[in-house]
Symmetry: C3
Subunit: 108 residues, 3 copies
Amino acid sequence: MKMVIAIIQDRDWVKLSKGLTEHGYGVTKLSSTGGFLRQGNTTIMIGVEDEKVEDVLQLIRDNCKKKEIPMTLYPPSITGLNMTSPPVNVTVGGATVFVMNIEQFHHV
Amino acid sequence: MKMVIAIIQDRDWVKLSKGLTEHGYGVTKLSSTGGFLRQGNTTIMIGVEDEKVEDVLQLIRDNCKKKEIPMTLYPPSITGLNMTSPPVNVTVGGATVFVMNIEQFHHV
Amino acid sequence: MKMVIAIIQDRDWVKLSKGLTEHGYGVTKLSSTGGFLRQGNTTIMIGVEDEKVEDVLQLIRDNCKKKEIPMTLYPPSITGLNMTSPPVNVTVGGATVFVMNIEQFHHV
Ligand SMILES: Nc1ncnc2c1ncn2[C@@H]1O[C@@H]2COP(=O)(O)O[C@H]3[C@@H](O)[C@H](n4cnc5c(N)ncnc54)O[C@@H]3COP(=O)(O)O[C@H]2[C@H]1O
Ligand SMILES: Nc1ncnc2c1ncn2[C@@H]1O[C@@H]2COP(=O)(O)O[C@H]3[C@@H](O)[C@H](n4cnc5c(N)ncnc54)O[C@@H]3COP(=O)(O)O[C@H]2[C@H]1O
Ligand SMILES: Nc1ncnc2c1ncn2[C@@H]1O[C@@H]2COP(=O)(O)O[C@H]3[C@@H](O)[C@H](n4cnc5c(N)ncnc54)O[C@@H]3COP(=O)(O)O[C@H]2[C@H]1O
């Protein structure tokens, strides 16, 4: 058995956990914080049979792909003039994934 | 040394941590959420000498056994008539336990 | 690659995470609770190349050393008399550190 530990963005958790549980995988979520940006993110733990690790990694890739999304950073100015700045591309998503060995598994 | 990671129900934490610390074991608690029911649960980490793993597993079994408890699900109706439904058996407790290898331990 | 898991005091997190990120290391913080004192503490995860483990351990030692600091435990009495007790030495700091093996690392 292997332990898959992944650090993902909060926004990808619901989609990813649905994908994992629909495929019959167990998953536990922990709230976490990034050391560099000091922003909240999500750490998940998935205990999974050796031969299913690749399948879980693919589910993480499908649901946590980094992508550029256009965002309007400055809200319409309060004077009423429609002064929005042109949209800027912001990167979201991504996952940092570690796979570790599990020596024993027990269900009490 | 081995790392015992157990996901237990919140209600079993105080009893289990008392049992563990009375036997001289170190334990750290993390708040977590189940991926399927999306309910809060508790993840604990116990770093323990190889020959004591079985003792720790037994303490988890003793304090986190799954059991059926009768629960009255519907409170007495507000009209004053004693309309409680017959008690229903609800499953509580249980633990999902992983044992992993620790290569180094340091106490700074 | 190795996973360094360290349980430190909350007060040492900002200093330590600055030291780690300035040296280019990735780190994730989880809020945790000690099983014995039931007080909040901090659990951190650092995925790091094998040859850099010793460097990370040294950064933890430099930023989380146990030390005695004088503390005045009783605030000046409300009668206005400057009745502070003589300072008492209180131990702060310290870290409990586990190093575990990582079999795979992926950055999605
Ligand atoms: N080796 C490792 N061990 C444990 N946890 C790890 C890790 N590598 C990444 N993480 C976790 O994943 C989050 C996203 O990392 P990512 O590399 O995509 O994106 C990172 C990376 O692009 C950059 N970054 C992080 N540390 C850096 C550093 N020391 N120097 C320069 N850039 C850094 O800032 C982004 C956000 O970092 P942040 O720390 O807030 O949040 C990180 C951290 O919580
Ligand atoms: N392989 C694994 N890796 C990481 N964490 C794991 C895990 N297996 C279990 N857990 C953790 O333990 C909690 C209790 O699991 P248990 O198997 O007793 O009880 C489970 C199980 O009976 C059922 N269940 C979970 N996932 C399922 C799925 N994909 N399909 C059908 N039933 C599921 O719902 C109960 C509650 O699940 P929930 O996810 O809310 O909460 C889970 C999850 O937080
Ligand atoms: N083997 C292990 N596995 C997992 N987590 C571990 C661990 N050893 C230590 N920790 C974590 O590190 C914190 C500090 O431990 P430390 O040994 O410096 O300082 C400890 C130790 O000096 C003492 N202590 C802990 N457990 C004890 C026990 N069963 N009997 C007597 N003293 C204990 O109380 C201090 C605070 O303990 P607390 O549990 O509140 O908080 C602990 C716990 O969260």
